[in-house]
């Protein structure tokens, strides 16, 4: 049992770490703010969630794991919001997107679909 849990913990931890690193790599490599934000929000949210979940597995059923779950919940609520507000701020201030960024207006199209 413990071996299974341990393996599970390590696998989850490794997965979380992998996503974190992907996020950082994305932060470094991607060309403009908006695409960087893709890398960071998604990967950070999931990475943090996975690592904290690994710790939940480690802690078992206790007060600590409740706190960890709450932390995951908060991160999952606040992280996208923070990303959105940053994106909005830079969008409204016309921060330049990278070359080749197109703009599409699909408001009409979706309207037709339903």
């Amino acid at each position: 049992m413990t071996v299974v849990t341990n393996v599970l913990i390590i696998v989850t931890l490794a997965a979380g770490l992998f996503f974190f690193l992907v996020g950082v790599l994305g932060l470094l490599r991607l060309p403009d703010v908006y695409s960087r934000m893709h890398a960071t929000t998604k990967c950070d949210t999931l990475g943090a969630g996975l690592i904290l979940f690994a710790l939940v597995l480690y802690a078992g059923f206790s007060n600590a794991s409740v706190k960890l779950l709450l932390m995951i919940l908060f991160l999952w609520i606040t992280n996208p919001t923070a990303a959105h507000i940053i994106a909005r701020a830079s969008y409204r201030n016309k921060v330049r997107a990278c070359e080749g960024t197109y703009e599409l207006d699909k408001t009409g199209e979706v309207q037709c679909n339903d």
């Binding site: 390590i10 950070d44 921060v95």
Partner: protein
């Protein structure tokens, strides 16, 4: 430390070390920018990583009440991000 780390605790610390190294790259992004939004994104990520690192060392050092600190971080860094983003958007905080 007054005790030997178990295998898993060592892994936690190792994870923490890798995360810190990753944080250095985030700091690089925060320093070079180029736009303010990049910096805020970087600080946001550093905040998330900090929460995770704190949780990791809470278990590695076997002091679970450190989780309180992590929870405070998760709550407070959001406020700071909102504040900075608002300033970026409007040039003022009101």
């Amino acid at each position: 430390m007054g005790f030997e780390f178990t295998f898993l605790e060592n892994i936690f610390i190792g994870t923490g070390i890798i995360l810190i190294i990753a944080t250095f790259f985030c700091l690089y992004r925060a320093v070079v920018g180029p736009s303010d939004a990049d910096r805020v994104v970087a600080i946001n990520i550093i905040g998330t990583k900090t929460v995770v690192i704190i949780s990791l060392i809470a278990f590695a050092l076997r002091q679970e009440f450190f989780l309180d600190v992590a929870l405070v971080y998760a709550l407070v860094s959001f406020v700071a991000t909102i504040g900075i983003a608002k300033y970026m958007e409007k040039g003022a905080l009101e």
